[in-house]
């Protein structure tokens, strides 16, 4: 495999890893606050449909993005209501929301456009288009780093850069601010937060809202940047892969970047069976390559990555006790 091919694959890695990264950070905020969210998938899907549909109708991708975030926030709000206010089972709530999203997206898209549950193809301003980073052309002659900058880093949509920026931003928010300290505390020992006179419910809803926003961006990216429109089940399990990456990353933002890009790399490999054949020296079935990210997910979830300790109060509704 030559350097140019590697760059192409890394370019795809970043492109495909971005929704995983956004969803993973989304899950990170929720789970760090003690709310398990298996419904990342459903929120992404809902946002993908809403943003695709609204972008198609309005012709503006930004309005589409806003609609996607709103749709995702609604599901997040329901999840918060069920698991925080009513202290329901968080897994069941998440699974239920996934089912709802799976059905309702196709139903609404079909009702609006009558194209078999798809939204119409998006073009121009209805889509996030690639932007070239400054000096990409000029620097491409610098050996090694130049092409990396021009080929891999440059030429993505704005949401890719937003996702990358979200990593240090999340780290800063979690570890350098009062909000982050309280958020992490509420996922570890909500009683400590409560007795300190801070609202457990308020913090958890704030966390779930952040999850909603990030999932909304992830879904909008799927429909308006990675692809040009919404299609049935287009998230294809990315919400679950993001959850696996979250465990892999041990609930830390920078590790989340690494973990999601690893999954993204496997997804990128699946697009280039020719390269894999060249490296391995024999033909590898495409279906096996397609399955690689999911196999990795299973391995991660089965605990082959070492001990990952989730937030201690994760999954448990907070009930005041004497």
């Amino acid at each position: 495999m030559d350097y140019a091919t590697l760059l192409q694959i890394l370019d795809s890695t970043l492109r495909l890893g971005t929704p995983l990264l956004l969803a993973c950070l989304a899950g990170l905020f929720s789970e760090r606050a003690g709310i398990f969210d298996i419904g990342l998938e459903g929120k992404m899907l809902m946002s993908a449909m809403a943003s695709g549909a609204v972008a198609a109708l309005s012709g503006s991708v930004w309005i589409g993005l806003g609609a996607g975030i709103c749709a995702s926030l609604i599901l997040a709000g329901i999840h918060g209501l069920a698991s925080i206010t009513f202290r329901g089972n968080q897994l069941i709530s998440g699974v239920a929301l996934n089912f709802i999203a799976s059905g309702i997206t196709v139903l609404v898209a079909q009702a609006l456009f009558g194209q078999g549950g798809r939204t119409p193809p998006l073009q121009g301003a209805a889509r996030f288009n690639p932007i070239d980073l400054p000096f990409a052309e000029a620097l491409s002659s610098v050996p090694v780093l130049g092409p990396f900058y021009a080929e891999v880093l440059s030429g993505h949509s704005i949401l890719v850069y937003a996702a990358l920026a979200a990593v240090p931003a999340s780290w800063w928010l979690l570890y350098r601010t009062r909000f982050g300290l309280r958020l992490r505390a509420v996922g570890e020992n909500p009683a400590a937060v409560d007795t300190a006179g801070v609202s457990v419910v308020g913090l958890r809803f704030a966390a779930v809202a952040i999850t909603g926003v990030l999932c909304g961006i992830a879904g909008a990216y799927m429909a308006t940047a990675l692809q040009a429109g919404f299609g049935r089940e287009m998230t294809a399990g990315r919400g679950y892969i993001a959850l696996a990456a979250l465990i892999f990353a041990k609930w830390r933002p920078w590790s989340a970047l690494g973990a999601t890009m690893l999954f993204g790399f496997f997804q990128a490999l699946a697009l280039r069976p020719d390269v894999v054949e060249g490296v391995v020296g024999r033909k590898v079935p495409v279906s096996l390559l397609d399955a690689l990210p999911y196999i990795l997910t299973v391995l991660v979830l089965a605990g082959f990555v070492g001990k990952a300790i989730p937030p201690r109060a994760g999954g448990q509704p907070y009930v005041k006790e004497r």
């Binding site: 009062r178 300290l181 505390a185 007795t195 300190a196």
Partner: protein, 524 residues
């Protein structure tokens, strides 16, 4: 620095109110249960005020009301003479009240510093808060013997140090009134002494301290005044110096209580249990029992003293069939299998060994199950609990539980209540009732009164002695030296998996036993 600011404020406010806290007519009910009934209490400023009462007397409820965890149904709270409504914890903190809960409210994987500032940060950014807290903490630890490494993770700290963090949290929030709920339950005697020194230091600085406990010795040692609660009511407040443990115990329980166990001299009969060269390895292959030998006769209590973790738990587990062992153990002359078939709790029970495990929450009860279900455990195959070949006779089981509850004075006597709804003492009574009522030849009993209130302790001690007087053999394991000294007919001290010789409780003393517990002895 906080103290200076506050003393300044007190000097300018003309007449300093004598009472830091006054509670007037506080009542609180949980459904049909009246947890607090018309409670009146006045705590003078700058004193250590004890609140004593049995488990379930309503002490914790009262303090939770004071800390804004619960809202009282009626009544008023006055802080420094001013009517102060406390609807939530934040108001309590603002009113200068700090609380150290029995179960610490700390974030395990945060540092000391992070725990201290949580909820009391100065602004949206952490750095300045952390820097300030570091300085304040250094001052506090200097002033009050409250040394803790500010950068240590809570999970790496001992329980005693974790408690100091809780106190630091309160002081950092400039608490003038500090409430401690059963603070010594988790501490070693040394740590408890240290805690009382800290409290005295705080008192000397003019802070007011409320100490909730059910241990009379602590009240006598540390407090200026003491209020006694019984079944949701305040039965009296007295000056500690003018009271005695006996009079307080009587106020608490509502009748005369024997703090000493009354028992006749033992009349040992034939050997019931003979243990020879018993060895136990734990799951890591570490030898926890290194070959111990002893016997227990009918009508005799053998007490095993020792610091926790010297093999006592393994001894009980091996004899109770919960752990594999090697050596030779005979019960009334018959060999007991120590591993493989027959080395399980069920076989031990049918052989005539009853077992009250050390940890009732993990091995004695299933907390979410009802009392009558818990009474069935281990004896669920008893023919009198069976309706026919398929079904159990739950009605008979419930009736049996009701009878046991009456005999053992379990409160409330409701068989359908979940085990977790009973107080520690009543839970233990359920376990003891289940095991003793089986009329066993040998009773293994570990930490019989851990987390149990005075009334129940007296009761359980009496039952143990009564069982002995029926001619049964009893192996008592306890880390409470008082308990061992007062109940046992012979005392063996365990150290590092070995027995350090037998002592007669009449002729030995705490000092000699303490040395043996530390592994120092002239013999063996």
């Amino acid at each position: 620095m906080a103290d200076q600011a506050n003393t300044g404020r007190q000097e300018t406010a003309a007449p300093t109110p004598a009472y830091a806290i006054e509670l007037k007519g506080i009542s609180k009910a949980f459904g049909p249960v009246q947890a607090n009934k018309d409670i009146n209490i006045a705590v003078p400023r700058g004193t250590i005020h004890g609140i004593i009462g049995e488990n379930g007397a309503g002490k914790s409820t009262l303090m939770s009301i004071l800390y804004g965890f619960y809202k009282a149904d009626s009544g008023a709270i006055l802080i420094n003479g001013q009517l102060t409504p406390i609807p939530d914890s934040q108001s309590a903190i603002r009113a200068g009240i700090g609380m150290v809960f029995q179960h610490f409210k700390l974030v395990q994987n945060f540092t000391v510093l992070e725990n201290v500032i949580l909820g009391a940060e100065d602004g949206p950014m952490l750095n300045s808060s952390l820097a300030k807290a570091r300085k304040v903490l250094a001052g506090l630890s200097r002033d009050y013997e409250l040394d803790v490494d500010p950068d240590a993770l809570i999970e790496d700290l001992s329980v005693g140090h974790q408690q100091r963090v809780e106190i630091l949290k309160a002081l950092y929030r400039q608490a003038e009134i500090l409430i401690l709920d059963e603070p010594t339950g988790v501490l070693t005697p040394d740590e408890a002494d240290h805690l009382f020194r800290i409290l005295k230091g705080l008192k000397d600085q003019g802070k007011t301290i409320i100490l909730i406990t059910h241990k009379l010795r602590e009240i006598m040692e540390a407090t200026d005044n003491v209020s006694v609660m019984r079944r949701g009511t305040m039965v009296g407040t007295v000056k500690t110096a003018e009271s005695s443990p006996e009079s307080l115990a009587e106020l608490m329980v509502g009748r005369k209580v024997l703090l000493e166990v009354e028992k006749k001299p033992a009349t040992p009969g034939a050997v019931v249990l003979q243990v020879e060269n018993l060895k136990v390895r734990d799951e890591h292959g570490v030898e926890r029992l290194k070959g111990i030998s002893f016997d227990i006769r009918a009508g005799e209590i053998l007490g095993i003293a020792g610091v926790a973790g010297n093999g006592q738990s393994e001894l009980l587990a091996a004899l109770g069939g919960m752990m594999r062992a090697s050596g030779k153990v005979t019960l009334k002359g018959a060999d007991l299998p120590l591993s493989g078939k027959g080395a399980d709790g069920q076989s031990r029970r049918s052989a005539g060994i009853a077992h009250v495990p050390e940890d009732r929450h993990h091995y004695g009860l299933i907390l979410d199950f009802t009392a009558w279900e818990n009474v069935a455990f281990g004896y669920h195959n008893d023919p009198k609990y069976q309706k026919n070949a398929l079904f159990m006779d739950n009605a008979a089981l419930r009736a049996d539980t009701e009878a046991k509850m009456a005999t053992f004075d379990v409160r409330p006597p409701i068989p359908t209540l979940a085990a977790k709804s009973f107080s520690g003492g009543n839970q233990q009574k359920i376990v003891v009732a289940r095991e003793i009522e089986r009329n066993p030849d040998l009773l293994l009993i570990g930490q019989p009164t851990r987390g149990v209130d005075i009334g129940a302790i007296e009761f359980i001690h009496k039952e143990i002695v009564a069982l002995r007087d029926q001619g049964k053999a009893i192996l008592l394991v306890s880390v409470e030296l008082d308990e061992i000294m007062s109940l046992s007919d012979r005392i063996a001290v365990m150290f590092d998996g070995r027995l350090m010789g037998m002592r007669n409780p009449e002729t030995t003393n705490e000092r000699e036993l303490g040395l043996l517990m530390a592994g120092m002895s002239g013999e063996s």
